[in-house]
Symmetry: C2
Subunit: 333 residues, 2 copies
């Protein structure tokens, strides 16, 4: 065990798009766990669009403050424990931040069962897969034959949403940011159609891809895409609001989408924001279903694993720019 | 039976606030019911903010076209029937429009049981009362002790929403357009607080009235009020979207409320548009409950009845300007 703890500090809160100079690499001593705490060595750090939102203010968690360790989900190994539920060698997940070692209260960590490959615990069997599963099934409530649209469709959550919707017998249309991604969604992941929101007016391309309108929209982006989809929703449609990445990496939009709440009334839509922990009571059942779909090949696990602690800032910046396909994470050791 | 049928035609579609010259009074012959049709003589015409929305385009019904009889809900009496389910003397409700007599297919009419006073069939035991009941209870799902906010609180639906929420043990705050209305809501109808959105910044006055945040918002107005309330919603709050009257009587807003969908996610809100007919299977049960609350004095029935057919245009214009308290209707005969 090395005796140096590398840490990426959030040096300053970005006011526009996130840049490398918002982070500062520091090297310090490995912390000592206090009473009830556990010392965790990071194996993988999860990169999520929400990381950027946390910099802007309190959300479902406190804001990250400048001068503190950058926050982030970690899959790690217990190296020392002063909490009865954990022992050295245990695999745990929790928000340990961007650092090699973190001393964290046992109560904020969750013991996880090793899986081969380990990375699946951050993708399909982690927050990502469960977010897609619960958001689509519990919030979107699609029925076979309905049209499901998902934005950021090539991203970590989006690709899983689309694949599950196909398993459920829906017609699935993805919205993504390049022609390459769109081809990949249809050719490799079985989406019925995919439209590139950066090429041509989305209203028209989406309309062509959804001639019967949209029954369920899984929204990862908010903003103009949300508005465009809203105008094409069918009566009694459902919108699962998972994130609003279009508003995270820059100044928040001056205005919201037109048609709110007028079209909610006229179309009698149910629009619901959620986070995955709202459904954690059903977690085991969901994981069992996901494992079955992966095992029989109906669900492809798409991961984008980058190696090396020092790649963290660029990995997040790239994710916010739409570089990744599937779940992006950084392998620490 | 007079042999003249007075009709208000929608002479032109208004492009801004509704004015008297959008209507034209005509006098013609009483129509003859065709096969399967019923001739209905109007007793009361219901005035609703939605009447104005219908002029702007298709909603949950077709748009009203210029040059046709103005549409509107009517409580009337069958004077002639060529439909097996109806006989002269039956009391019926349906969209018969602004005219003394209408020949309408039996299938679009509903037979109703006379009540004393008859007007209650258009207010508390009609669309108005049922909209308040289902929107609050089935969509808003308030629990005792929660804070419920309702906009257009002195209006037909709003006052009933607030009164029912009080019966259910909630803390109730109304938003209305004058100090007089606000005083009336608290002093006469038992609202805990009421704020005048026209006096001072609503964000501050609402915040003062809802120090613990808002759990359920029953939205009748959309627009800026919707946005202001959204920012004060509590985690896991519910918004029942009943109408967007702020957008009906003029040009639609250029933009929607800020915070959509970002705050839906962060606060994990459920925001749902509905119309009363979505719940008609539960109508009998709802009416029974409403009758019980009226009978034991827990629900006051607030009506604003104007006399005379020719008052119809001014009655609707006044309603859109917020003149009424409770359910506005015009008594025809």
């Amino acid at each position: 065990m090395s005796d140096i703890n590398r840490q990426f500090m959030l040096a300053r809160i970005p006011s526009g798009p996130l840049t490398q100079d918002c982070f500062r690499l520091e090297r310090g001593a490995i912390p000592m766990p206090g009473d009830g705490e556990v010392l965790v060595k990071a194996r993988y750090v999860s990169l999520d669009a929400a990381n950027r939102a946390w910099m802007q203010g309190a959300t479902y968690r406190d804001a990250i403050e400048a001068g503190t360790v950058m926050a982030g989900g970690v899959l790690g190994e217990v190296v020392q424990s002063r909490h009865g539920d954990f022992a050295p060698g245990d695999l745990v997940s929790g928000d340990c931040g961007w650092q090699d070692y973190a001393a964290r209260p046992g109560k904020v960590l969750r013991k996880v069962t090793p899986t081969d490959p380990l990375s699946h615990l951050l993708s399909i069997y982690g927050i990502t897969g469960l977010t897609a599963y619960f958001g689509l099934i519990e919030v979107g409530r699609p029925k076979a034959g309905e049209t499901v649209v998902v934005s950021a469709a090539a991203g970590a959550v989006g690709n899983v949403v689309g694949q599950i919707a196909k398993v459920l017998g829906c017609r699935v249309v993805g919205i993504a940011g390049s022609d390459d991604k769109c081809r990949w969604l249809t050719d490799e992941l079985g989406f019925d159609e995919a439209v590139n929101y950066k090429s041509g007016p989305l209203y028209k391309t989406l309309k062509a891809a959804c001639p019967g309108g949209i029954d369920v929209y899984f929204d990862n982006v908010g903003g103009d895409v949300f508005e465009t989809v809203l105008f094409q929703m069918n009566l009694l449609g459902r919108i699962a609001c998972c994130g609003a990445v279009s508003a995270y990496d820059g100044t928040p939009p001056a205005h919201g989408p037109r048609g709110v709440p007028g079209l909610f009334v006229v179309k009698r839509l149910t629009v619901r924001g959620f986070i995955v922990s709202d459904f954690f009571e059903q977690r085991d059942e969901a994981l069992e279903q996901l494992r079955a779909w992966v095992a029989d090949g109906r669900l492809k696990v798409i991961e984008d694993v980058i190696s090396g602690f020092e790649a963290l800032p660029e990995a997040l910046i790239g994710l916010l720019n739409g570089e990744n396909r599937g779940k992006r994470m950084v392998k620490i050791c």
